[in-house]
């Protein structure tokens, strides 16, 4: 599962880009008399404008309440979300540092409506997740974070190569809310900031892996229940150096990270860690942003199968690469295209062994109606044009608190894609009505 950046943010970015340019106009009125102030001191319709709004009254707690409806409209045709969910964010500056926590909770009646096994109903009907909970303290040139935190080191938006630190939530297969696709890692992070440079060090004593649902769940995968059989749990660590260049950025990464998904080693499953050397680079040339990520894994645990079909793990020299471009058009919205390749590829039981694997993702988004309506479309090809996911999304912002999201996912698989074939028939329609507070 890959992650998609909410295109809303790209649009908002322009808002910020030009916001500051407005300020000179506010500073542009020398020596007007108080009489003139009275003449033009008219809100002209904004009758409920208060005198000031101070940041000191900002609440510690914010979040959202949502009504979620999602129906699988392929085969089987069934409810996959039917209930309510909430996101709570505690964001507090204290004299001792910054405290941040983010938790999600949901009630989903879909399993009961579809008469799923009682064990699945009991486990998933009401669920909660602590995605992040960390303390952070900044010093002159250093910053220290301890706790559960998401850490994003890559430049890619949809097909990351070097985002190997933060695990993914795979409990829903297709997410209507992109921000729910990631999970925090329990870590200690030390950052150093210099002149245009950053050095980030991370230590993960007990790694967390991609979240899978149990067998029997509609989105169960061959990894389901894998946590029962983990035979190793290596400490992870990594170092990133990032240099800002004129209209470009270069990052070098070295680390020792585990497979976030398990590999099959006989009857056991493993997340065995291995060394990683990576590079990420981007360069802006308006209206384009060119992005690349490269990774070299000298002894990467790779899934293999014996002639008898017995799974085994063998360490192999491996490579991964991403090439991408962002494009902003005056008339045709914002575009992101990313191409990902890995070789040799990890293979899984039931899939044909391939020596390489590729992905191509293309995303378009545009805002309308004074930014109240956001439309987006994404198509992702898995190795060839016949294996693809098409996603259409929309977001309508009714006011500052209420919004309605809609999303349609169509999955086409020709049977030989180990990532996509298990999801064949999972075409899905999502609606989410949210209230933000």
């Amino acid at each position: 599962m890959t992650q998609r950046v909410n295109p809303l943010y790209h649009s908002v970015s322009f808002t910020f880009a030009l916001y500051w340019a407005l300020l000179p106009s506010l500073l542009a009125a020398p020596f007007i008399l108080s009489a003139a102030e009275e003449e033009f001191d008219d809100f002209a319709g904004f009758s409920d404008v208060g005198e000031t709004e101070s940041t000191s009254s900002e609440p510690w707690l914010r979040g959202s309440l949502s009504l979620d409806l999602a129906r699988q409209i392929g085969a089987p045709n069934r409810w996959v979300r039917n209930g309510v969910s909430t996101q709570l964010i505690l964001d507090r500056e204290t004299p001792f540092g910054h405290l941040y926590a983010e938790a999600t909770g949901l009630y989903n009646a879909a399993y009961r409506l579809e008469k799923d096994p009682q064990a699945i109903i009991d486990r998933y009907e009401a669920d909660g997740l602590l995605r992040e909970f960390y303390w952070q303290k900044a010093f002159a040139q250093f910053s220290l974070s301890v706790g559960r935190k998401m850490l994003v080191w890559g430049k890619a938006d949809m097909l990351p190569v070097v985002n190997m630190i933060t695990p993914q939530d795979r409990s829903a297969a297709l997410f209507a809310k992109p921000e729910e696709t990631r999970l925090g890692q329990d870590l200690i992070q030390l950052d150093w900031y210099g002149n245009g440079q950053q050095l980030n060090a991370v230590l993960i004593p007990q790694p967390r892996f991609n979240l899978q649902v149990n067998s029997g769940h509609p989105y169960a995968t061959l990894f389901s229940d894998s946590t029962d059989h983990i035979k190793d749990n290596d400490v992870e660590y990594g170092l990133r150096w990032n240099q800002q260049l004129p209209r470009a950025e270069l990052a070098l990464i070295a680390g020792h990270f585990a497979n976030r998904d398990p590999l099959f080693d006989g009857f056991e499953q493993t997340h065995r860690a291995s060394d990683v050397l990576a590079l990420s680079y981007n360069r802006a040339a308006d209206p384009f942003l060119f992005k690349t990520e490269l990774a070299y894994l000298p002894q990467h645990p790779t899934q293999l199968f014996s002639r008898q079909g017995k799974p085994q793990v063998e360490e192999k020299e491996s490579y991964r690469a991403m090439l991408g471009v962002d494009y902003v058009s005056q008339n045709y919205g914002r575009w992101i295209a990313e191409l990902y390749a890995e070789w040799p590829s990890v293979t899984y039981p039931g899939s044909s062994a391939k020596t390489s694997f590729g992905l191509l993702a293309i995303n378009w988004s545009e805002q309308y109606w004074r930014d109240d309506l956001l439309l987006g479309a994404t198509v992702m090809f898995f190795s060839d044009l016949e294996n693809r996911v098409v996603r259409l999304s929309s977001r309508y912002q009714y006011d500052d608190r209420w919004s309605l999201n809609g999303q349609y996912n169509r999955i086409d698989a020709n049977g030989d894609s180990f990532l996509l074939t298990p999801l064949e028939g999972f075409d899905r329609l999502d609606f989410t009505l949210s209230y933000n507070f």
């Binding site: 106009s25 500073l27 002209a44 500056e93 004074r370 930014d371």
Partner: protein, 290 residues
């Protein structure tokens, strides 16, 4: 065609000699040299709504949309002509934590550099802009201020004509100037011409009318609530009325500080994602703001 930007309307504290009647171009030239301080901090609100006219007055048809923002900037470079700015969204809550950093260069050959922090994705992202082949699309915060309204412009973008020399505008005496974009600049703007009311005593722009290419009034901009902050006079409210879609926006600066010391680190990418660092450093600036 001329798109009269707010930045272009910024007038210098240095008044023109009173014994010589300035030309329209001279008046507009002064706006490019505005004294807005070498550094600045502000908290501002942008409210927008569709309006109806009742008893001759515009009223919001529904509760206005609100963006509460906090911004920081300073002039940098050899002659202080480049600038760095940091902007944060405080409200609405669904966008809180979004932060934006921009580097602008006086050299027209160098494009601005922009970064955005996306709190929902925990990602710092470099972003790019459209090309300059035509008017910038979109509006600021979903308001009635189009991006092209707030772009930087040069005096050479337009030609200027003095329509009226001693016009009364409220209790003020103003010049009324028409600005028309040059042939070269016309494709980059959606406006056909603009008319500006400028205070004769202090060279202040008090009102701007923006006309579309067909000559129809598209927008009216008003500057209001003039106050002196840290020795510099500023307009703390700006109203934008869009006549073509019956919507209006009001930008209110609630707090402002000028010419204060701004730590360099607050205008680097660290400030976007290191919340504790940013908040610790900004505490002192907030206390200075009035």
């Amino acid at each position: 065609m001329f798109k009269l930007t707010f930045s272009l309307l910024a007038l210098s504290l240095t008044a023109l000699p009173l014994h010589a009647a300035p030309s329209a171009r001279q008046i507009m030239q002064q706006s490019l040299d505005v004294n807005d301080g070498s550094s600045r901090y502000s908290q501002a609100r942008m409210m927008s709504c569709a309006f109806v006219i009742k008893k001759g007055k515009r009223k919001c048809r529904s509760k206005p949309r609100l963006k509460l923002t906090e911004s920081l900037g300073k002039d940098v470079g050899a002659e202080g002509k480049d600038s760095l700015s940091l902007s944060l969204i405080l409200k609405p809550s669904s966008e809180k934590g979004m932060a934006f950093l921009q580097k602008d260069y006086d050299d027209t050959e160098k494009d601005s550099e922009q970064w955005m922090y996306l709190p929902a994705m925990k990602k710092l992202k470099r972003i790019v802009s459209e090309t300059d082949d035509g008017p910038k699309t979109g509006t600021l915060f979903g308001s009635e201020l189009a991006y092209e309204d707030i772009e930087k412009h040069h005096i050479s973008d337009s030609t200027y004509a003095l329509l009226e020399e001693n016009l009364s505008y409220g209790k003020r005496t103003v010049w009324k100037i028409k600005a028309t974009p040059t042939e070269k600049f016309a494709p980059k703007t959606s406006y056909g011409h603009s008319v500006v009311w400028i205070d004769q005593q202090h060279y202040l722009p008090l009102k701007i009318e923006l006309y579309n290419r067909q000559g129809k009034l598209a927008k009216t901009l008003l500057q209001q609530k003039i106050q002196q902050i840290d020795g510099i006079w500023i307009a703390k409210r700006m109203q934008i009325i869009n006549h073509s879609n019956q919507r209006m926006s009001l930008m209110v600066t609630d707090k402002l500080a000028l010419n204060m010391d701004v730590p360099d680190g607050l205008l680097e990418s660290r400030a976007l994602k290191d919340s504790n660092y940013r908040e610790t450093q900004m505490k002192a600036l907030r206390m200075l703001a009035k």
